[in-house]
Symmetry: C2
Subunit: 323 residues, 2 copies
């Protein structure tokens, strides 16, 4: 079995690649794992400390380069994880870049799947940025997407395309709206949600961190491990389990800044918490406050997707993986 991961050089892409190699493939039917023969990681560029493995092939380039994509996927691809995108603040700062990569680039990847002779499975990472505006207190599986960012708009367009390509029999698609991933390792990226990782990660590394929102601010989050598990589970479920609706809200937990700092104190003591300084940034606050923080995820629960146990467990898992 040959698997493509777009955005394969990113944090989640690399984690997903490691998980797939450790499992040796994906189980398209219960108990029937197809052996992984090649894992193609496609991205604009790759960091030097990338995963090296005999089954992994790296292809660096632009998703708008259809020929390169076709070449990367030859002679065939059985499954696609489409993770690549311009992130939230990036798509907001450069509207045309977001449209090109997140819509036109995605259409190229969908066409790769469509051209395969055997219906490939296709997992798309969508986002809670699908929701915004005057939201209900709790987002349900049936709540209409109302994105309030270009990134969210482009993600919802991607969901619609995956759904229609699936209905047409071009691919066997599945979309998971991932919660905000916390704790991200490394340096902050351009995501407005980055502070929730920073206020945990930096103090644990003995560094200062800035929190740009008030302590009572809540966020709907999932750990990197659970996010990777969700993507693999989305891929392994039978199409009949998904049914006609190929979009779901992935399970997360609702955590406030106060709760995150309390968990940090329980894990690393009060000196860690004292490294966090509050300094409001109204631009970031405005974006973060537009996001939904409470969901019911009945459909995901019924289909066997699993969220995190709590913020303490998330912090402990981060320490283990960092250590």
């Amino acid at each position: 079995m040959r698997i493509l991961i777009t955005g394969g050089g990113g944090f989640i892409g690399q984690r997903l690649a490691r998980a797939l190699l450790a499992r040796g493939g994906i189980a398209e039917e219960p108990g029937a794992a197809s052996k992984l023969t090649e894992l193609v990681l496609f991205d604009r560029a790759f960091a030097p400390d990338r995963l090296e493995d005999e089954h992994v092939r790296y292809v660096a380039g632009d998703m708008l380069d259809r020929d390169l994509l076709v070449h990367a996927c030859a002679p065939r691809i059985d499954a696609v994880f489409h993770l690549a995108s311009v992130v939230s603040a990036g798509a907001e700062a450069d509207f045309d870049l977001g449209m090109r990569v997140n819509v036109d680039g995605m259409r190229n990847v969908l066409e790769i799947g469509r051209a395969e002779p055997i219906l490939p499975r296709f997992v798309f990472t969508s986002s809670v940025a699908a929701f915004g505006g005057d939201l209900p207190d709790v987002v349900l599986d049936t709540t209409a997407p109302t994105p309030q960012s270009s990134y969210g708009t482009q993600k919802v367009i991607g969901e619609l395309l995956v759904s229609d390509y699936t209905r047409k029999g071009f691919i066997d698609g599945r979309c998971v709206r991932l919660p905000t991933i916390v704790v991200r390792p490394g340096k902050p990226n351009r995501a407005a949600s980055g502070f929730m990782s920073s206020i945990i990660r930096e103090p644990l590394e003995g560094k200062p961190a800035v929190c740009p929102v008030p302590p009572e601010t809540q966020m709907w989050i999932a750990s990197p491990d659970r996010a990777v598990d969700m993507l693999i589970h989305a891929m392994e479920l039978r199409g009949s389990a998904w049914g006609w609706n190929r979009i779901l809200n992935g399970p997360g937990i609702t955590v406030s800044v106060t709760q995150a700092l309390a968990a940090l104190e329980r894990t690393a003591g009060s000196e860690a918490v004292q490294r966090v300084r509050f300094e409001r940034d109204s631009d970031i606050e405005k974006i973060v406050l537009s996001w939904p923080v409470r969901f019911t995820t009945e459909r995901a629960d019924r289909l066997g997707f699993e969220g995190d146990a709590g913020i303490d467990a998330i912090i402990r898992a981060f320490l283990r993986s960092a250590g």
Copy 2:
């Protein structure tokens, strides 16, 4: 004021053009109608019996031809009615054509609006084809779109783009999901909904008609007059009345085939009804039964959009306009 109508050669486009000429323009503020100086009708082709008026300019071509669109809109455009699209059965039969025209072509029209120095108003005709699958009994203003056709998918993508272009300050956009238009004049088009017009229009003209669905089949409909009124009202409302949510379900009425035939009998006698033959077509039935037939349109009602009084009034209006 200069107004662009894409799909200006179509049935609704021509009706809308006549209505705009009769009004002399659109009122951007209550009581302050801007005088219409030029009405640009853009379409692939125009019928010989098209509306002729000194204020009307016809431009025939492809929406994918960006230069032609720019040329058609020079020196400036104050308002755009974007009606042009590949219709439902057409977009289903030729997926790539639907994507090119309904998505890429629409993006060209949106870019025309974005390039204007003064924020242009932009009305987009969306459709009840936004909904399908396992629907609630009554579609609410907050019901999530779940299109089950490529046409519906492309219409929802258009709504998302209009919303995001509006949020970004590129255009002042408004989307109205129109009910199925009944009675359409002329010959059937490729729309699966065409029979509801046929079973009224043909008998009134003394011709036979075929109904491909059972008598109890219901449809959510609006007359051509109300559809045109809705588009003009959508354009004339202030942006602040629309608020951040630029998409709404237009008002319609729910009518069954049985009710339509009873109204036909009241208007034209039993011999008219006897010209309708039932001959089931499972392909059409499947598409029609996937459409929602009941809506609450509280938001449209509150904003002053008006639906039809009933099917009898729709038939009488058709007879008046045909006569």
